[in-house]
């Protein structure tokens, strides 16, 4: 589904990704781990299409197409979802409006009619209940005054409504208490399916206790330096990132 080859990307002239390669197949869950500054978030933003990041060489194929040619909104309509590390507050735009606009943008792209208003509300309420979100959040400004946990739940709600083919979750676990972490993990697990791929970007192993990855990759200085199964995350937790750096330099 996603095939990244020798990707180099920079922001403001600073090269962050330095030859990253990664292949994620349908039905798979991959975890990208690594110390701060290793390029995890840059990878997530490059996949989503952030225009401040400049891809200097390499390629990103998504379902056999050149992903880098597409604008962020086109990527979203093609089924890519980025869960933000820091979801943006947008006062004056209510949550229901954004959800509906997002769902309809995708439906229009797929040649479908707009979602029925009643159907939309029913679906949103169901998904919110599953995430332990109060339905009143639908009528609040997008992320406006939300706590950290509420913002992350709101990201997962958007993902659940949009049913992406490829979900990239950027440090969705950071700043969450255990209840919120479980709710978020359940939301992600509910989306696991043979047609869908999920990339979890995380600093800590903790999230992987609740979402079991098929593959774990360790990122250091803009490159994947180790890949393995879920046991790699545990090993990393035990030995720390220093171990990876040493292994990479060895």
């Amino acid at each position: 589904m996603l095939d990244i080859k020798d990707l180099h990307a920079a922001i403001g002239g600073n090269e962050i990704l330095r030859g990253l390669s990664l292949a994620v197949g349908a039905g798979e869950v991959h975890a990208i781990m690594g110390p701060n500054g290793s390029g995890k978030s840059t990878l997530a933003q490059v996949i989503a299409g952030h225009e401040d990041y400049e891809v200097t060489s390499g390629s990103v194929q998504y379902e056999g197409r050149d992903l880098l040619e597409l604008a962020p909104e086109e990527r979203a309509r093609e089924g890519i979802f980025l869960g933000f590390q820091y979801p943006v507050e947008i006062p004056g735009v209510n949550n229901a409006y954004l959800l509906k606009a997002a769902v309809n943008a995708k439906r229009q792209h797929e040649g479908k009619d707009e979602i029925d208003a009643f159907e939309f509300l029913k679906l949103a309420r169901e998904k919110m209940a599953a995430l332990g979100m109060d339905p009143k959040f639908l009528n609040r400004g997008v992320n406006e005054g939300f706590s950290g946990g509420e913002k992350k739940r709101n990201e997962i709600l958007q993902m659940a409504m949009l049913e992406p083919k490829l979900a990239v979750l950027d440090e969705t676990d950071s700043g969450l208490d255990i209840d919120a972490l479980k709710a978020v993990a359940e939301g992600v697990n509910a989306l696991r399916s043979p047609e869908r791929a999920i990339v979890l970007v995380t600093h800590y192993q903790r999230l992987l206790d609740y979402i079991e990855p098929d593959r774990v990759h360790v990122l250091s200085e803009g490159r994947i330096v180790r890949s393995g199964d879920k046991s790699l995350a545990l090993e990393l937790e035990e030995k720390g990132y220093e171990w990876v750096r040493e292994a990479a330099n060895a």
């Binding site: 989503a48 225009e51 947008i90």
Partner: protein, 421 residues
């Protein structure tokens, strides 16, 4: 240098106006105007707004024999459609009785006794008094069940026109009234209107006031709303300036009674070539009392906005709680804003805050919306509308919120189309 008007012409024009009993008021107006002339940009309050153009238009109009267009009744009908209200319609300064059902209510009518009006104040007050045709006097003794709609529907099709509007509204003790001041205009010739509304709120009375200014973009106006609040009176105001080439609004609130509260919110939208100027002044003469103010502006192309919010807490007005805010969104680099809060405090126990911002659309929010599948142009529109919505949603007359929201949204769409955003 003053922008002067010829006094002899003013007197001739006044002599031909209806209601000869108002001659004294008109003469007093001429005297004030002759002494002061139109304010120039040398006057602090008019530093950024040049009335040279409207003074020239007024001179030309007087020289041409003060012609007045037939009322544009189609414009009136469109504005009245679908809104359940008691109406007073004023077209080019004349009250249109056929469209003004509110004249049948007790205490409402065209006032012909000069002594009913306070002395003209300031040059524009003088101009208003000098040339007013049908001043309207309203006294609300018992609460009205429907909003009172003041529709100012001007037109300039045959030649350039100037018009004066004067409304004096008193709300008696304990009464409540909702007022919708709606300004529209039509015609390709120049038009200048000068509107003066006075509002006196007795103890325990209440007024919800919505002002919507949608003049044709070739037309200009100066307008003033003077409000006085007695003990425990409440005034909730929302104004939207959307049209006009030059639009100036002065809102002066005089808090003269303890326990009074005033909310002054507004939005202005200006596209290429438009100049919109909002001056507000709140006098806290006694405390405790509360005032809240938030104006938001959206500008595109070569648009210019001025916001000046003055709050004065007089000696002894302890317990005053006053907040002022002005936020501006510039959609293009050429747009310009002069925003200035002015706070003067002469009392000890007060709570005052003010803040102004001038900025662009939040790139992070734009990107966030785009990652949700919303195209760039649509995302810009959503965020621009949202910027204004936070004050538009505060409009005090619930039944008008949709009308106001639609009008603001339509104007935002227009200016964004004009700059190709």
């Amino acid at each position: 240098m003053m922008h002067e008007l010829p006094v002899d012409r003013l007197a001739e024009t006044a002599a031909a106006l209806p209601h000869a009993s108002l001659a004294g008021l008109r003469e007093a107006g001429r005297t004030v105007l002759a002494r002061q002339g139109f304010p120039t940009t040398k006057v602090e309050d008019w530093k950024y707004t040049d009335l040279g153009g409207v003074a020239a238009l007024s001179r030309a109009w007087l020289a041409a024999g003060a012609p007045v267009d037939e009322p544009d009744t189609e414009l009136v009908r469109r504005a009245q459609a679908g809104l359940d209200a008691h109406w007073i319609v004023i077209a080019n300064g004349s009250v249109l009785e056929a469209f003004s059902d509110a004249l049948a209510l007790p205490g409402i009518g065209v006032a012909t006794d000069a002594s009913e009006f306070p002395k003209p104040h300031g040059a524009l007050g003088g101009l208003n008094a000098a040339l007013v045709r049908d001043p309207v006097r309203i006294r609300v003794s018992e609460s009205l069940t429907k909003p009172l709609a003041l529709l100012v529907a001007d037109s300039a099709t045959a030649s350039a026109v100037t018009a004066q509007v004067r409304v004096n509204l008193a709300v008696d003790r304990g009464a409540a009234v909702q007022v919708f001041e709606h300004q529209v205009s039509s015609g390709d010739e120049g038009h200048y209107s000068n509107v003066l509304v006075e509002l006196d709120l007795a103890a325990d009375s209440r007024c919800d006031y919505v002002r919507l200014q949608q003049r044709a973009t070739a037309h200009s106006q100066t307008a003033r709303l003077d409000v006085r609040l007695d003990r425990d009176a409440r005034f909730d105001y929302f104004g939207a300036d959307l049209g006009g080439r030059l639009a100036r609004h002065d809102l002066a609130v005089d808090i003269a009674g303890r326990g009074a509260s005033a909310t002054l919110n507004g939005v202005y939208v200006a596209g290429p070539g438009q100049h919109v100027d909002n001056h507000t002044r709140t006098d806290h003469r006694v405390g405790p009392a509360t005032s809240r103010q938030e104006y938001r502006g959206v500008l595109a192309g070569r648009a210019r906005a001025v916001w000046n919010g003055k709050a004065i807490v007089h000696a002894g007005a302890d317990g005053t709680d006053a907040e002022q805010a002005n936020h501006n969104l510039l959609l293009t680099e050429q747009a310009e804003v002069d925003a200035k809060p002015e706070l003067e405090i002469y009392a000890d126990d007060v709570k005052c805050a003010h803040g102004t911002t001038v900025g662009h659309l939040d790139e992070r929010a734009l990107y966030y919306l785009r990652t949700r599948g919303i195209g760039r142009q649509r995302a810009r529109r959503i965020l621009t509308r949202a910027f204004a919505a936070t004050v538009v949603d505060s409009a005090p007359i619930a039944g008008l919120r949709e009308t106001i929201g639609d009008a603001v949204e339509a104007r935002l769409r227009d200016i964004m189309a004009e700059i190709g955003a």
